[in-house]
């Protein structure tokens, strides 16, 4: 009893200290929103479609994250937004893959390109997006094959957010060039890799050109593995080399103790295409990842995944360089936290635990 009382006092003290810090949570999720059919072709017949997209919306709302970065938000945006209207603002929807909203030139399909990027961001109404920019990738590969990346206007979106307590952060949301399993197996994905590296570099240059004292989050479906695309050489090291900022990947930090897989090594089975990276400007505000969650077990309906990607969530503290992160935890619940294998996190161990920003005692 005495031990518990001491813990509660300590916890109360921490919460008091937390008021001087800011915390927030972010989710990135490819919502698998391609239509089942386009013209005569089965595009995504096994995808979530309309009903599944509503379930995804329910899922997103239930996670109560402050910011949600979505990719492939194409034809079912109303369904995706349906459970979010009450609590969230969102940025522009740029269209779906359909022949009604975009008139196709069937005789010059090579010149056709859907204007949509499939990206969408939602953020709680307590936050504010004070500046927004949409940028197309300079290089894509694959218009009628190689995963059709070039048939839409893929790129990235940049938001400047003011959190509820007035803290400012910058957030990118993006969807990089994909390559098919077939092409990867045949070694026919060289141009896809080149396109992705180009996109990493474009994103890097865009970020550096606008870097100030605000920390930056990069979220999205990067279609990249560290073992396949040299993300460290193309993105992380060049930013560090400027001496202006440090870079981290929440998954690397929390699950690989900060050690990046090497290009050419066997892929880490737990690595996802979906990533959350953060860039802390030297002398500026600092983001510190507190938790990272890949919710495999929770992102299901009747035993099947809701979509073809799993949600990646992280909580961050933001403050000066001395911030530990622990004192900044505020919300989320025990039951919603899972490890990278989809197992409920810390279920069996005893003691004080912190999960998704919530501290609790397991006896």
């Amino acid at each position: 009893m005495k031990r518990i009382s001491i813990s509660l006092i300590l916890f109360a003290l921490m919460l008091t200290a937390a008021k001087a810090q800011s915390t927030f949570s972010v989710m990135t999720l490819n919502v698998d929103g391609l239509p089942g059919k386009f013209l005569l072709f089965d595009v995504n017949k096994d995808g979530p479609l309309s009903a599944g997209s509503e379930r995804i919306s329910e899922y997103i709302a239930s996670k109560d994250c402050d910011i949600v970065s979505m990719q492939e938000c194409f034809n079912y945006r109303w369904e995706i937004w349906s459970r979010l209207f009450a609590g969230y603002e969102h940025d522009e929807w740029t269209g779906g893959i359909d022949s009604e909203s975009h008139q196709l030139d069937y005789f010059h399909l090579q010149n056709d390109r859907f204007p949509c990027d499939g990206l969408n961001n939602a953020w709680k109404k307590a936050l504010k997006s004070t500046a927004y920019e949409r940028v197309a990738h300079e290089k894509n590969f694959g218009k009628f094959s190689h995963e059709f990346d070039d048939i839409i206007t893929k790129g990235f979106r940049r938001h400047e957010f003011t959190l509820a307590d007035g803290t400012e952060i910058v957030l990118y949301n993006t969807h990089f060039d994909a390559s098919s399993n077939r092409d990867e197996q045949l070694g026919n994905d060289v141009k896809d890799r080149e396109a992705r590296l180009s996109q990493w570099m474009q994103l890097r240059d865009h970020l550096l050109a606008r870097l100030d004292s605000r920390p930056v989050l990069l979220t999205g479906d990067f279609n990249s593995y560290y073992t396949r695309d040299d993300i460290v050489a193309a993105f992380i090291e060049p930013i560090k080399a400027t001496g202006r900022a440090t870079v981290g990947d929440v998954w690397i930090e929390k699950c690989r103790k900060g050690v990046y897989p090497k290009v050419g090594d066997e892929k880490d089975a737990e690595e996802l295409f979906d990533k959350i990276l953060y860039v802390n400007p030297v002398g500026g505000m600092e983001l510190k990842p507190v938790t990272v969650t890949v919710d495999i077990a929770g992102y299901q309906f009747e035993g099947k995944p809701l979509g073809d990607h799993y949600p990646l969530m992280a909580t961050f503290s933001v403050g000066n360089r001395n911030t530990t992160g622990i004192e900044a935890l505020t919300h989320a619940t025990k039951a919603e936290t899972f490890d990278l294998q989809g197992r409920p996190a810390n279920r069996s161990s005893k003691g004080i635990h912190i999960s998704n920003g919530h501290k609790y005692i397991n006896e």
Binding site: H108, L109, Q110, F144, S145, H146, K191
Partner: protein, 558 residues
């Protein structure tokens, strides 16, 4: 006859010294005329489609058949929407025009009788055309009597040098040439197209890489073609004018010394120079006049000596033709890809001369015949039922339009579309059938109704095979035979095993059902449209049908 136009002709036998060709083509390219113009697809006096074009006429250095430096003219024709920058360009088409007898019938005089068929339709291919006038036309029209007609690779040099000159002009103007380069021609233009490919393979492998060479109804082996005429000398179902132009051209170019009276029967002999050498009449007018004169067979037109393989006259002619054969000294580059089409009963250019081309490629290079589009480096398409050389040409041009439209889609990512490749890699006929059936297409249903023509004047191989057993009695009605079918199958890269496998399979399926004909025709079309180019081809046929165009009535003189 314009007596003043007769020029001295040197007799040059043997292979031209090709080193003489290596003149500096970067020098001496000159723009001689430039204009905005409009091309029209007209039919029976009604304009069906118009398209603004920008034409740049150039003069450029090249060589004649003897390797002497000369200057020729040619055109670069850019679709207006490409020239004004509103549409990106897909590529350059090196187009080799077909037979003309009048000096004004050439690109720099604005003559585009065939070009409108593949450029001025709703498909609107965004390709730049490059076309040589060829010797005897344009700035060399004073020498029209001396035009090189299926004469070695003379027009091949003219065509390739025109392409190089056009590249220079386009580069200097900052006009993009797109991603692709095709080479095409039909009839004598098909011959010149092959000649251009030969020149490219022999002298410009590094500078020029054609993505595809598309040829139809070409007298590739001129002697085989002429021999075909002899075999059919009493057959009234022929068009004699091509043979007469060949004989006339080789007589002139090789100074064989035959007079019209020695070569032709009266009354043609008296009229020949006026009709063929005056430059006053088109090839269509000449062909019509021959019919009006009652000349229906080669026996009607030619002196017996020119229809006798043992005669001295035939020997002289044959030697001259052999000396200029495209086959001499050419090893085709296996990395170059071909599409070849010929009507099996072509009345003007016997199919045997085209078949020689297929055999030449397969025997002298690593070209493998297939009727599956894009499956190999030699796609073939052999039709029967229609014997019209003109319809053959128009159908080829529609096919060319479809190819210009399909190619940027099929090869957009710098390789054959991987999804399309997955479809055709099972490119045995049975493999295709099974794949289509897996996709829910009733191939057997389609098979049982394949008895009509396809709207383009011919019946394709699949259609014909389908009729073999169930409609066997119709083969005779169609003027063909099982032997010919098997020959065409060979042209298409099909083995007898393939054929028997298909027939047995389809017969067993056909017995199970008797689908309604209209549905089967729709299925037939669905089968064809698995090939991307056929989607566009059928779109063209639909458009023509909507405008009540009968291809047989399109007046184009090949």
């Amino acid at each position: 006859m314009k007596a003043g136009m007769l020029a001295a002709i040197l007799t040059i036998c043997g292979i031209v010294n090709v080193n003489a060709h290596a003149n500096d083509l970067q020098e001496g390219v000159e723009i001689i005329h430039e204009c905005d113009t409009t091309w029209h697809f007209g039919y029976n006096g009604i304009n069906l489609y118009s398209r603004p074009m920008h034409r740049i006429d150039i003069a450029y250095p090249t060589v004649d058949a003897q390797g002497n430096s000369i200057r020729l003219s040619g055109s670069i024709v850019i679709p207006g929407n490409v020239y004004d920058g509103s549409s990106p360009v897909d590529g350059v088409l090196l187009y080799n025009r077909y037979t003309q007898l009048q000096p004004e019938c050439c690109p720099t005089r604005g003559f585009a009788e065939g070009e409108f068929v593949f450029m001025c339709t709703p498909l609107q291919p965004n390709w730049i055309l490059v076309e040589s006038d060829f010797y005897g036309f344009g700035i060399t029209s004073d020498h029209i009597l001396d035009q090189y007609y299926v004469y070695g690779d003379a027009n091949g040099h003219a065509s390739i040098d025109c392409l190089l000159a056009a590249r220079k002009v386009l580069d200097e103007r900052g006009i993009s040439q797109g991603k692709f380069l095709l080479n095409a021609g039909v009839s004598s233009g098909g011959y010149d197209c092959i000649a251009a490919q030969r020149v490219r393979d022999m002298y410009y492998k590094d500078e020029i890489k054609f993505d595809k060479t598309l040829v139809a109804a070409a007298p590739f082996d001129v002697l085989t073609a002429y021999s075909g005429y002899i075999s059919k000398k009493n057959n009234p179902m022929v068009e004699v004018s091509f043979a007469l132009i060949v004989l006339n051209a080789f007589n002139r170019q090789n100074n064989l010394g035959f007079t019209p009276q020695q070569m032709f029967n009266e009354p043609l002999a008296s009229k020949f120079d006026d009709w063929f050498n005056s430059g006053l009449y088109s090839s269509s007018q000449v062909a019509d006049s021959l019919k009006e004169l009652g000349i229906k067979t080669f026996t009607d037109a030619l002196q017996p000596a020119f229809l006798d393989r043992d005669s001295e006259e035939y020997g002289k002619l044959a030697s001259a033709i052999k000396a200029r054969s495209l086959q001499v000294g050419w090893t085709p580059d296996p990395d170059q890809s071909y599409y070849y089409q010929h009507y099996a009963h072509d009345k003007a250019v016997p199919v045997e001369s085209g078949r020689e081309f297929l055999n030449f490629l397969t025997n002298n290079s690593h070209h493998k015949k297939s009727l599956i589009p894009e499956l190999t480096n030699l796609t073939t398409c052999m039709y029967v039922l229609s014997d019209s050389h003109t319809i053959s040409g128009i159908q080829f041009m529609l096919r060319l339009a479809a190819t210009l439209t399909a190619y940027p889609v099929l090869y957009y990512d710098g390789e054959l579309n991987t999804h399309y490749y997955d479809l055709i890699k099972v490119g045995t006929p049975m493999g295709i059938i099974q794949l289509l059936e897996e996709k829910g297409i009733d191939v057997a249903g389609a098979y049982s109704s394949l008895t009509g023509n396809d709207g383009g004047g011919g019946m394709d191989f699949f259609s014909l095979i389908a009729t073999l057993n169930k409609y066997n009695e119709r083969l005779e009605e169609y003027g063909t035979s099982l032997t010919e079918i098997l020959l065409i199958a060979d042209d298409s890269g099909l083995s007898l095993t393939d054929i028997m496998q298909i027939i047995n399979y389809l017969n067993s399926k056909a017995e199970e059902s008797n689908p309604d004909e209209a549905a089967c025709r729709a299925m037939h079309r669905q089968v064809n449209e698995q090939f991307v180019g056929d989607y566009y081809y059928n779109s063209m046929l639909d458009w023509l049908k909507e405008n009540n165009v009968n291809l047989n009535d399109l007046r184009i003189g090949f």
